[in-house]
Symmetry: C2
Subunit: 454 residues, 2 copies
């Protein structure tokens, strides 16, 4: 149902219409910039491996973005926005070819005020922090790809991460204040969306406009100590994670829990983690370390790794073993592994976590990430899965869903089939308005694909 | 079972043993310094009205406190510590006379580091903030008596307040790091308690040692805007309060909800609050005001009062209508009113709140204060009660308890009969060690009174 590029586009003519803007046509480069980290999914690999853009445009300003949008609309060329390309579900893989619009050169931090910053979409998260920390602030949450990912890509394709145990997820009201967006109408416009209106483009995989500026809330920057706590049994580690997440008097930023043998995949930490232990990986504000030690004692944990905030700045960050970096490390040891994304129901007893841990044993290795949702800390999970067949993977997912766990399926590139589940009529209406030809990242939004039949 | 002062003490001799320390013997002054705000309770008034100390000592240093302790132990004189005397349950009323030790002159803020401060017990909360704010920090929580109360009294007799919607209550791990305490042994000592050990003296009504120094955690100091939101019906206001408390992306410090007619007791706000409305009184960080406005809209509320953080500094603070200040204002209009202290169970539907609201109607007027407990925001309540008889008050309390609400009874001066309910064996053992003659605030700790029979 989409009106996309006729296959006889004269790309030389397009390139010259884009004069003044950086255009990349080298096949190897274009192929590289057509990929992301969908490779974690054995389901997505065969579906996406051959998808490639026709050319890549790298714009440095909103004016240039507007010009690119105009050219693409005029010629009905699909346009897929790209940040650092670290998404996990092929979010920025151009299903129908066309133009990749790379925004990594739009990196300005335009202003920082107490609690708020205004940034360009290509700014790397780590670089935003470098500037805001000078004033005592930092971004509220970041993916574990903190050092490579862009803020535009995080908003476009991410969900939450380190910091979510305090501030919830990106979709929660207050975690994104405003965006400027370039539309794909006959004459592309720049519009500003503020407050709840940002949900029209938040986590839309770039199907609902090209974000050219973002106003984001900041958190007070604490000196974050990094610690690993070892436990003899998994459920004690998990309950410790819940208790820490629920400790209103202890300031923390990361609460990750790994069942054995997950920590054995972390080569760099081999000497730090005693054999056979289940672990919590945490970031705790230094002023809270003393009460934190009491909590560790209460649960019989043993601190086996500790870096002060100052030391933590040097070398690998502890967060780079958590969230989806866990999968990265595990797959570098055993590339047959894949993963799941699960939200367990709020339950201080962690009954369902315990059940799944025992039910699947070694086939689905537990990796919990605690985060707040609606004011309550719950365990999300990015379990490592020993992959066998697509049917078995579906079975595992189905079993989770039947038992009451929510699966944000990472084995689909369709927006609604991942985390969202239902079609968002507001996002659809907005797309009909600002992208009438369906040129933005075509093939990703089910609502749009099926809109004839609704 | 207590070994307290023989009634034939030579107070002139005592006064001269205290040479060099300020001693107050003027009867009117001593009477005044023997009182607190137990007057809110028609049950406590007859029990406490005639209780008065023999003399008041006002020490300026830990060394002086040690000297006073030594004199009291030597002569077996009851010693009751006093901060600003704003407690609500006669916590610092000397049941057996003796010495009142007034610590209001020990006001030093000894040091401030990012996230932590070390203070003397007589420091007023407002004055601590004045010094820590210069570095960007503030105390995590304060009672509405913020401008008069001392930190020692807050720890000794308070529970939580403005800030508890984020940080929980004083008893929660991490909200008090360390204390120095003067004991009442034959030779009084100074001991330091750190971490979980502080629970031995936290909220002990001064029965477990004289706190002479405290290490307290700090919160990042935001510019707090003050707002009043009006609603047509109470349950919408209450649900708004729950939703705001659960909004992880909105930074807030106070979430109070009043059913009509409670706001009509606030003479100073008469022109701000439309007739017949139910209200939320909130403090929201200025950078969060934009998403906050969306939440207000979602619930159909109307902002009827708003002060920026800068304006809020001038004149009456909005917090001075909340927590137990509500009772103060209501009683200044109708002195027959009294109040309850309730903790409702965690329940996003607020079913029990709704039931009580309808069940008691005008007799028990709803006043909710949202606070975090164990990671979950729940409504506490300081309902205004139209007092008739002690029996009826007991009936009301009993009905709440039967329905599953927890009552921290403000109509008793006994530690365990208020909020705690059960005897704390750790506090009792500690008291046996450091106050073997039971001289500290005698008559307040049930565990001690009944220890023969346990
Ligand atoms: C090892 C690893 C760990 C990860 N950990 C996390 C994690 O902890 N939490 C998490 O949420 N994600 C995680 N991810 C996924 C991903 O890294 C993050 O979501 C990251 O923020 C994406 O940023 P990016 O710049 O790479 O975006 P891209 O991958 O370039 O883009 C992501 C999506 O956003 C769209 N987009 C990009 N820029 C714009 C724009 N300006 N306007 C509109 N749309 C835009 C793209 O079209 C695409 O659909 C992880 C991935 C890997 C490989
Ligand atoms: C209008 C009003 C509103 C209030 N609002 C709140 C509220 O929001 N939250 C709340 O928790 N309380 C509230 N209170 C109760 C009270 O104001 C607070 O708990 C306050 O912090 C007490 O401080 P203070 O200095 O007045 O203590 P005091 O009343 O002097 O003492 C309280 C108790 O602590 C003991 N104590 C004092 N200093 C020491 C010390 N150095 N060592 C050991 N023990 C000591 C005393 O013996 C006494 O038992 C309110 C009271 C009123 C009248």
């Amino acid at each position: 149902m989409t009106l996309t590029a006729p296959r006889t586009i004269d790309w030389d003519a397009i390139a010259s219409e884009l004069a003044g803007i950086e255009v990349i046509r080298d096949a190897a480069q274009v192929a590289k910039l057509s990929k992301d980290y969908y490779t974690y999914s054995p389901i997505l690999r065969p579906l996406l491996d051959d998808k490639v853009a026709d050319l890549v445009v790298r714009s440095v300003s909103e004016a240039e973005v507007l010009q690119v949008a105009q050219v693409c609309v005029r010629h009905r060329i699909p346009l897929t926005v790209r940040g650092a390309g670290t998404g996990n579900y092929g979010q920025c893989v151009p299903l129908e070819g066309g133009v990749i619009l790379d925004l990594t050169q739009m990196q300005a931090v335009k202003w920082v005020k107490p609690g708020l910053a205004c940034v360009e979409p290509g700014a790397k998260l780590v670089n935003i922090d470098k500037q805001t920390r000078e004033l005592g602030w930092e971004i509220r949450m970041a993916p574990s790809t903190y050092r490579t990912a862009t803020i535009g890509g995080f908003i476009g394709g991410g969900s939450g991460g380190i910091g979510s145990v305090t501030y919830g997820q990106l979709r929660d009201r207050g975690n994104l204040h405003a965006v400027r967006v370039v539309t794909m109408e006959d004459t592309p416009r720049i519009i500003e969306l503020r407050g709840d209106e940002v949900q029209k483009v938040n986590h839309a995989y770039g199907t609902n406009g090209i974000i050219t500026e973002l106003e984001i809330p900041l958190a007070p920057a604490y000196p974050w100590a990094e610690l690993i706590i070892a436990f003899d049994d998994f459920m004690t580690a998990a309950r410790f994670g819940q208790a820490l997440s629920d400790s209103d008097g202890i300031t923390k930023k990361l609460v990750t829990v790994f069942a054995h043998p997950v920590p054995t995949y972390f080569a760099a930490l081999r000497n730090s983690i005693p054999d056979g232990k289940h672990c919590a990986f945490v970031m705790v504000a230094e002023p809270s370390l003393e009460p934190f030690a009491d909590l560790v004692k209460e649960f019989g944990g043993a601190v086996c790794y500790q870096k002060s905030a100052q030391e933590a700045g040097k070398g690998t960050l502890l967060m780079e073993f958590t969230w989806n970096h866990t999968t990265l490390h595990a797959r570098s040891v055993d590339p047959t592994l894949t993963y799941l994304q699960t939200l367990f129901p709020a339950d201080k007893h962690l009954t369902l976590v315990e059940h799944m841990y025992h039910h699947f044993g070694d086939e689905v290795m537990m990796h919990l990430e605690f985060l707040r949702t609606g004011g309550t800390a719950v365990p999300a999970a990015l379990q490592l899965v020993r992959y066998s067949t697509p049917e078995r993977l579906r079975e595992i997912i189905q079993y989770h869903e039947e038992q009451g766990a929510f699966i944000a399926n990472p084995h689909t590139y369709i927006l609604e089939d991942g985390g969202r589940k239902t079609i968002d009529p507001v996002q659809l209406a907005f797309k009909e308005e600002i992208d009438p030809y369906g040129l933005l990242n075509p093939g990703k939004m089910r609502a749009w694909l099926e809109r004839g039949s609704i």
